[in-house]
Symmetry: C2
Subunit: 237 residues, 2 copies
């Protein structure tokens, strides 16, 4: 149905009607124990040279957008099978000054500790959400949408699983929920609720150096969570 014709200038792919370019961008969220952070890369070329942006790239013709997003994520963090979710596709005609580009945007949830900030270390950096500078293209808008999508998703899935390390303190879990939902909980009510849900397993202590008293470490009880999820359970506050 569609023919590709070579031309002399390397414009090899020809169509009867104009087609937009399609990219996949990835908003990578991490959690440092206190604040939510996003991984940004600094652009080395025009337009928006020097500005920070989300990692992304053109969609290949033989892979789905999700595969593309996973590939981007792997290149940037070394992670093979992270949690990613498509949350919006951005299509304003003028969003890229060069040509018509639509961007299928994903957000990823990763454990900062496991990220291999290897090759591209120089031009990649974690920013706390309230310290994100003005971004390239319409990426400010993409970030706002990603935050909103994450905030909604937390009502249906326990995104804490993906952002916290294997073991963590109750305080860290509370910090995470407060960071995502932008609210404050009473420490004791949060503890009671978690206890009632029976989703956490208590382990042995750790000394938290800078702090005053030892805090118990916990880990998620995945089996219990799956069971609750079956019954229509929702992790809400």
């Amino acid at each position: 149905m569609e023919n590709n014709n070579k031309t002399e200038e390397g414009l090899r792919y020809c169509y009867k009607y104009p087609h937009p370019s399609v990219t996949t961008d990835c908003v990578i969220f991490g959690f440092d124990g206190t604040k939510l952070r996003v991984l940004l890369v600094q652009r080395g070329i025009e337009p928006y040279k020097g500005r920070w942006a989300f990692p992304g790239g053109f969609m290949k013709m033989d892979e789905s957008a999700e595969e593309g997003a996973l590939r981007e994520l792997q290149e940037e963090t070394g992670l093979e099978d992270a949690y990613i979710r498509q949350f919006h596709t951005f299509t304003s005609p003028q969003r890229d000054p060069r040509e018509r580009v639509i961007t299928i945007a994903y957000y990823a949830l990763v454990r900062i500790q496991e990220v291999n900030s290897g090759d591209d270390a120089a031009d990649a950096k974690w920013f706390a959400l309230n310290e994100v500078p003005q971004l390239a293209f319409d990426h400010d808008q993409i970030l706002r949408r990603a935050e909103q999508a994450l905030r909604q998703q937390i009502h249906f899935e326990p995104v804490g699983f993906e952002l916290l390390p294997e073991v963590f303190t109750i305080k860290e879990l509370q910090n995470l929920y407060e960071a995502i939902l932008d609210v404050r909980f009473d420490r004791r009510n949060f503890y009671n609720k978690m206890k009632r849900l029976e989703m956490l397993e208590q382990m042995d202590e750790t000394v938290n150096p800078t702090r005053k008293k030892e805090a118990f470490l916990f880990r998620f009880n995945k089996a219990k969570y799956e069971e609750l999820k079956q019954k229509g359970f929702r992790l809400e506050f």
Copy 2:
């Protein structure tokens, strides 16, 4: 940055790398007082000739996907400013047998009574959700995703506004929520909850011919709803 070169065969738009086609499809939901329905159109050409599918079309280069979806919706229903939401972009490489096509999918909520099933009446039809036949392309999958997105959205926005006529009975409102969430509520508890929220205004009666007793008609109190929404209110069950 991107040049378009004419060739002799009408393949006028040429690129250095292959670009996919981009379409916007629209899952149009309506409510008949008892069941949720979707508007489908029957395909007149191959592939999948004769199969039912969601209305859609190619994205134009000077309009956003949302504008395109609104245009499709207008052509199909005559409605100018319906409620639409982008919910997912479908990108499997093989989802269209002809060429690489990605589809930005929207769902719309409309009042069936207001739909002008004019021009395309012959090949357009409302299907109850449990009577939808096997669809063209991957539209079965698109429908499942649309239902899921609607079910989630109802927790954050009062989608009932968009699907019900100006006035309606409590029973109809309950039917709507039950249809979307696929659950059953106690008639009296549902009534009490609505009363407590003070979102409905009671009007004068109507005789429901086939039924036994007259039922009050209600309409939404938009002002009250907006006020509650400001305070972080959520319409949940």
